[in-house]
Symmetry: C2
Subunit: 132 residues, 2 copies
């Protein structure tokens, strides 16, 4: 395994970015999806905490740089197409700026009742959608 070579061999999009799924290593909770370029990936590897590229602010940012909610990197995987990353982290505090542990706290549809903010108490919305 050659880390430098793997970074170069990733398939970045037209903007030089690759999507990075961030997962809490201890619980398996998917925390967020953000984007990395070569520079932010290198900085992540150098510092051991996550750095991303903000598409809106057009600059690198360290997760938790203002909130203190940094993510310590435990493992980094890439997928079979080499165009997506999975970063397993130890999350300090919460991942979402809205105060929830995961940024994925809103349910679009599902079978189960959820602890999420917009929960489906009946737990049958997906079934219902398939009927209507």
């Amino acid at each position: 395994m050659n880390i430098e070579k793997n970074i170069e061999n990733l398939k970045y999009d037209a903007h030089g970015l690759v999507p990075a799924i961030v997962q809490d290593d201890a619980t398996g909770t998917v925390l967020m999806l953000a984007y990395m370029n070569r520079e932010s990936l290198a900085k992540t590897l150098e510092t051991g905490v996550t750095w991303f590229y903000s598409r809106s602010r057009k600059r690198l940012w360290q997760k938790g740089e203002t909130s203190g909610h940094v993510q310590k990197v435990k493992d980094i995987y890439y997928d079979c197409d080499a165009d997506a990353l999975l970063i397993k982290v130890e999350q300090t505090g919460v991942a979402c700026h809205e105060g929830t542990f995961s940024c994925f706290s809103r349910r679009l549809a599902g079978e189960k009742s959820a602890a999420a903010q917009h929960s489906d108490p009946s737990g049958i919305l997906l079934d219902l959608y398939q009927v209507i």
Copy 2:
């Protein structure tokens, strides 16, 4: 919760796509990252199994349509920016066309020794990278 409204309110990119993280509901394993447009998301909700949009083939595809490795949808979440989906599924067989349960079987760097194909037996590559 209004599913139709939520589908419309998602922030699709310039190509009308939104990235979808697929996670095994039972184990928490992140299986793959793929892309959905409104049509594939609607088809996913209608059928209860995952449909994506292939950027290379420029058409909808049902996961497992040839392999039989379909993904039964258990829950769908979207994130705080409404520009990414998290789909929890019951995976039939394996998710990856290479035969591994997850498409994320290759390690770029990490602390732990892994069961992944390209493992780091010494388990110190990330530390090593930070030193060099």
